[in-house]
Amino acid sequence: MTKFIFNHRYLFLRRFVQVSIMFLYFGANAFGWTVLTGNLSSSLFLGIIPMSDPYAVLQMFGAGAIIAGDLLIGVLIVTLFYMSVGGRVFCSWVCPVNIITDFSNYLRRVLNMNQVEKKQPASRKIRYWVIALSLIISFILGVTAFEFISPISMVHRGLIFGLGFGWAAILVLFLFDLFVLKNGWCGYICPLGGFYSLIGKFSLIRVNHNADNCTACMKCKEICPEVQVLFMIDKSSEPILSGECTNCARCIEVCDDEALNFSIRKLKK
């Protein structure tokens, strides 16, 4: 039992963080708590610290809106935070959609669905195209394009303010990831994840690979939602520098050989 907990220590921690954050937001609307008000698009921490989704604000900028000062401060705080801890820490430690898509991925593993279709018929670069497209559409239509279709906001807004038909969005993400594309939403399409990949390029906290300890069991590659970032496994000892790594730490947990661990990135190579 203790071994089970130890082998899922980061997973439990992540779920705890994800659920707590959503619960604090929920409490703000339902019971009037003031710890964390708003939602993941923009919020106020402890009643003073503003935090705003930089990708949403980028779209607002594209749409031609006048960006208020509070929003800019919020964007700055969020951007600096994710720049230092890893952009896609948002994806694996905060975003509630991660719980849905991880569940799809879990089912894929237990049902051996990954054996049926080994190669994924899509490019990981789609998300960057979606970012470009969202900015173009925002500019042409004068509205924040992704924010009006974003299943991410449907989910977090739904959890806080009432779901409506948002359950359909949850189901669509779940089925898509389960039957169409492995890690399809988070790993291929989601422009918010793509945006945080770009921000997280320079993050200080990175997973480090020690090839000397590696026995090439490939458990890490099996569990990793962004498997392309693990190209160095069993080949060379180096940190995983790709911004697409979500710092979810699943690889660290499944590794029995101490070949993977968190490390502080050396600023000089």
Binding site: A28, N29, G32, T37, G38, N39, S41, S42, S43, L44, P50, S52, D53, A56, V57, M60, A63, G64, A65, I66, I67, A68, D70, L71, G74, W129, V130, A132, L133, I136, I137, I140, L141, G142, V143, T144, A145, E147, F148, I149, S153, M154, R157, G158, I160, F161, G162, L163, G164, F165, G166, A168, A169
Partner: protein, 274 residues
Amino acid sequence: MSNQKTKTKKEPISDRRKFLLNMARGVGLTALGGLVWSAHVDEVTASTLLLRPPGALDEEDFLKTCIKCGMCVEACPYDTLLLAKPGDNKPLGTPYFTPRDVPCYMCPDIPCVPVCPSGALNEKSVTTNDKLDINKSEMGVAVIDSENCIAYWGIQCDACYRACPILGEAISIEYTKNTRTGKHSLMIPVVHSNICTGCGLCERACVTEKAAIFVLPKEVALGKAGDYYIKGWDEKSERKIQSSYKDKDVTTTTEISKRSALDSLNDMGGLLDD
């Protein structure tokens, strides 16, 4: 031509062609996705019959600027404001209210506006002399269906008038003769659109099965006379004429007006030539 024929059919396509085809595929798929995406976004943001919180920018700017965080909704003490959910058929995630369910109670401290981080709810638009002033808000305007308003039938009802937070100013009661009975009066509620904030307390109070007085967004309910009308009885309006004449010589000279009126009228011209 002859070169190509000598090659075997299984020869893989050149890198250049592969690159071009891949690029075309990327661009094509992007265009396809972009068109579907734009069509959808255009459709879901087209809803105009929507009441926004106090101080909201006009709808076009509001849709640009609102970040959909819901802080106005959380600040509202009456649970008036809601965020549009999927299935509500309203621009997703933006705040609105339905007065017949819960109207805006026009809090004097307007808690929903200062919390807005993006300025989609503009504090300045509801401020007079550095003090928040809810009476300045323009959420909409009340409209009366005179066929179904029972006051127009001759029944005495002033529910909307009594409910109005700007009593006697936004809605007044006008007395007219009841021509059906010949001896009673009609007490007709009249909305003054320049004062009405669109809070919807009247709609909430209306006694008919479906409210005969209801709030519509101003840009939907109101007409516009246009700038070219000058109100001769309004000094401000008159000044507009003078200022537009300021630098121009607007004296028109015609054949007749060249001379003084008297000369021109007394001139018999060729009439007496015979």
